[in-house]
């Protein structure tokens, strides 16, 4: 037992030396999360503002003026008048001068005083369908405001009170800080482990280790230990930035978060090990690890897009993405102050995943060595 421990520590030391020997990679490993967090933090805002709206007003009356004022007064739109030829309207979109065009008919002023509802035409550049939908919703809001204004006595029979829990200002940082934590940990763990082991294979140094009296299990443990340390440090860095720069509140237990994060790190490392057992070059291992971690974690975990809105098949695939469970855990602990009991299901699933991945990786690793 004593020997095993010593040997694991020796391998871990060798790995640490490898890492320190290459300060550039180390710096990148630590700077990348910071930059990613800051960029996401300041850039990730799906709310659109200052939409350029071109107005073509054929009516030029009192009512149409008021309507245009209403658009100008809203913070969503930046209004300007278009006085070119009507056939060239599309140029506004092609040159990206406008995202939407409001066309008010000649008879608008007359009609609105008599008809039930008088239409105005709005053409939206819906190349980006999300932006298109948002712009349409804004238009509906502005028009509703306008209708309120010109009919002061219009009743509002029903009131709605909304109670937004945990995040009353609907800040996106509450959402993406845990998300980035999940993403970075899985990427760093899976990428690093998969590459370090294939590296020894590719360079032929694995054989040198094999002729030494070290057992496969000890090699793996020794190689993986330093990365657990690095990962926890990075996790800490992300959390500190989240809490101090983006004011994310921390409502749960630090100890619980540390334990469950370690569990997630182990799952991710096992994934990396698993990948390293069936790849022979670093290039392949890297591409594989990248595709197995980056895209699924960003898109199939609920990091940005809610899983329940996806097609059935993707929802099923999302069950094998570890980050899906970890996100519930992190968000639950940090933002809702959940206890272990409330997070039992995702915790158990992550544990099972680690066990399955690890036993498989060991088995295949042995087979690999015997060849």
């Amino acid at each position: 037992m004593k020997h095993t421990q010593n040997r694991i520590i020796t391998i871990a030391k060798k790995e640490v030396l490898h890492i320190i020997h290459d300060p550039r990679s180390l710096i990148i490993i630590f700077i990348l999360p910071v930059i990613q967090l800051l960029l996401f933090g300041y850039a990730l805002d799906l709310e659109i503002k200052n939409v350029d709206l071109a107005v073509v007003d054929f009516s030029k009356g009192n009512y149409s003026d008021k309507l245009i004022d209403q658009f100008e007064g809203s913070e969503f739109f930046h209004v300007f008048f278009y006085d070119g030829r009507i056939e060239d309207l599309e140029k506004l979109f092609l040159t990206r001068k406008a995202r939407a065009i409001l066309i008010i008919n000649q008879d608008f002023d007359k009609e609105i005083q008599f008809a039930v509802s008088t239409p105005v035409q709005i053409i939206i550049d819906a190349a980006d369908p999300n932006a298109g939908t948002l712009i349409r919703n804004y238009c509906t809001q502005v028009i509703a405001g306008y209708n309120q204004k010109i009919n002061i006595q219009m009743p509002e029979p029903l009131m709605v009170e909304s109670n937004i829990r945990y995040n009353p200002d609907m800040q996106s940082s509450y959402f993406f800080v845990p998300g980035i934590l999940a993403l970075l940990l899985v990427m760093i763990c899976a990428l690093l482990t998969s590459v370090t082991i294939t590296r020894e294979k590719e360079l032929g140094t694995m054989e040198q280790i094999l002729v030494s009296p070290i057992k496969p299990l000890e090699i793996i443990l020794g190689k993986v230990l330093p990365y657990i340390g690095i990962s926890i440090l990075i996790g800490l860095l992300v959390l500190l930035i989240g809490i101090f720069v983006f004011d994310v509140p921390f409502r749960g237990s630090y100890l619980l978060l540390l334990c469950l994060t370690t569990l997630y790190i182990i799952t991710s490392l096992s994934l990396g090990l698993m990948i390293s057992t069936f790849t022979s070059t670093q290039q392949v291992a890297m591409m594989f690890a990248q595709s197995a971690t980056l895209l699924p974690t960003v898109f199939l975990s609920g990091f940005i897009f809610p899983i329940s809105s996806m097609p059935q098949l993707l929802q099923i695939i999302s069950y094998i993405v570890p980050a899906k469970y970890f996100l519930v855990i992190v968000r639950g602990i940090i933002l809702k102050g959940n206890s272990l009991l409330q997070l039992l299901q995702p915790t158990v699933i992550l544990g099972l995943m680690s066990i399955i991945l690890l036993t498989n990786a060991f088995r295949r690793f042995r087979l690999n060595l015997e060849e």
Binding site: I28, N50, A126, A127, Y166, N167
Partner: protein, 373 residues
């Protein structure tokens, strides 16, 4: 010329020798595209809804019916108290609660403005906002129905109102794949050309075969061309596969000119291949190269408008995006795909992209020395 061909031949053999690599280059992008095309949507569906109806009148049931028939919401049950709804939200079993007060129906007719409460899990601020919007829409329709009930018909006719007739150009069905796939084409082009070329050059260094290449009579430019051309060809093959697969899987349209896109893509590839060479000159192991390539990738991706619209960013970040060659190519590809734009409209993007490409490529080639330190 013959030397370059030999070199290319060697490269191709090296790429295709690794079976897994071939799979990664050709199948992974298609799988990724399929996932992305379906997963990226800002539509929110199946919001888990709990209802607490303290009124149980005809009116309250009518309001509930509006929520039940919407595919946005998935009614998972009824609760008796607010606290059980907040508890369900706390335990992740529900996302939203609708509380209808006692005497809701009666108050509605007595014009007492009853108040409906919506409790929502705000952790995902974006989804919460969209869900609130949907709920508001359903409630508005209910209100309108209430106002329009036969006995009050006169009242409604007394109001003047404007309505909207909307036209959604370029993407009638609001298909998000139509928008995401062009962006994805750019991302994949970047990954393959930059990462693979960087790693393949460094690999020769790490394994020691670069020395063997250096002692051959190949000149520097022959060595680089022979290295890069195969990746250029692969990238183009990849592009054709992805675009056609996207057409089949998502039935998206390609409005513009394909030769134009191909020409501009080759201009863009100067940038990515240049970065690939640059990375390989300043690193000595594949791991380092991988991290540096990552560093560039993440920065380029986030600042390109691929996921986060540039117009939504704060002003100083918007300025930074002008430094990003990928930004221009994303605009170009999307416009050619969806709007069928021609050079006249795209020149504002083509010009900076080309300048960046030439500068980066030239600088990197100068920095690449055919010797070993």
């Amino acid at each position: 010329m013959r030397q370059i061909l030999f070199m290319m031949n060697k490269e191709f053999k090296q790429i295709f020798r690794t079976r897994e690599m071939v799979a990664i280059i050709f199948f992974l992008p298609i799988i990724q595209m399929a996932i992305l095309g379906f997963a990226i949507t800002n539509e929110v569906k199946n919001i888990k809804l709990l209802i607490s109806d303290h009124d149980k009148s005809f009116e309250s049931r009518k309001l509930i019916l509006g929520f039940r028939y919407s595919e946005r919401f998935q009614l998972i049950g009824y609760e008796n108290s607010n606290s059980s709804i907040t508890e369900a939200i706390h335990n992740w079993s529900s996302q939203m609660g609708l509380v209808i007060p006692k005497d809701f129906g009666k108050d509605l007719y007595r014009n007492l403005n009853p108040e409906v409460q919506i409790i929502i899990d705000g952790i995902d601020g974006n989804t919460a906002g969209i869900a609130l919007g949907y709920a508001q829409g359903i409630i508005n329709r209910f209100t309108l129905d209430h106002l329009n009930r036969p006995m009050d018909m006169k009242a409604v006719y007394a109001f003047q109102s404007a309505g909207i007739e909307e036209r959604m150009w370029y993407n009638l069905n609001l298909n998000s794949a139509q928008y995401m796939v062009p962006g994805l084409v750019v991302v994949l082009l970047t990954v393959i050309s930059m990462m693979l070329s960087a790693m393949s050059l460094v690999r020769e260094k790490e394994i020691g075969t670069l020395e063997q290449l250096i002692v051959t009579p190949l000149r520097k430019y022959q060595l680089l061309l022979g290295k890069l051309f195969p990746f250029l060809i692969l990238t183009f093959v990849e592009m054709v596969i992805i675009i056609n697969a996207a057409k089949i899987i998502f039935s998206i349209e390609f409005v513009g000119s394909q030769p134009l896109l191909a020409t501009l893509a080759s201009l863009y590839l100067f940038t990515t291949l240049g970065l690939g060479i640059f990375i390989s000159t300043i690193t000595s192991t594949q791991q380092q190269a991988m991290f540096l390539a990552w560093f560039f990738m993440v920065f380029m991706l986030l600042m390109s408008g691929f996921l986060i619209p540039i117009e939504n960013m704060p002003a100083f970040l918007q300025k930074i995006t002008y430094l990003n060659p990928m930004r221009y190519f994303i605009y170009i590809t999307r416009d050619i795909f969806q709007k069928g734009s021609n050079v006249q409209y795209l020149k504002i993007d083509i010009l900076p992209m080309t300048i960046y490409g030439i500068l980066i490529f030239w600088g990197s080639v100068l920095k690449f020395h055919k010797r070993i330190d």
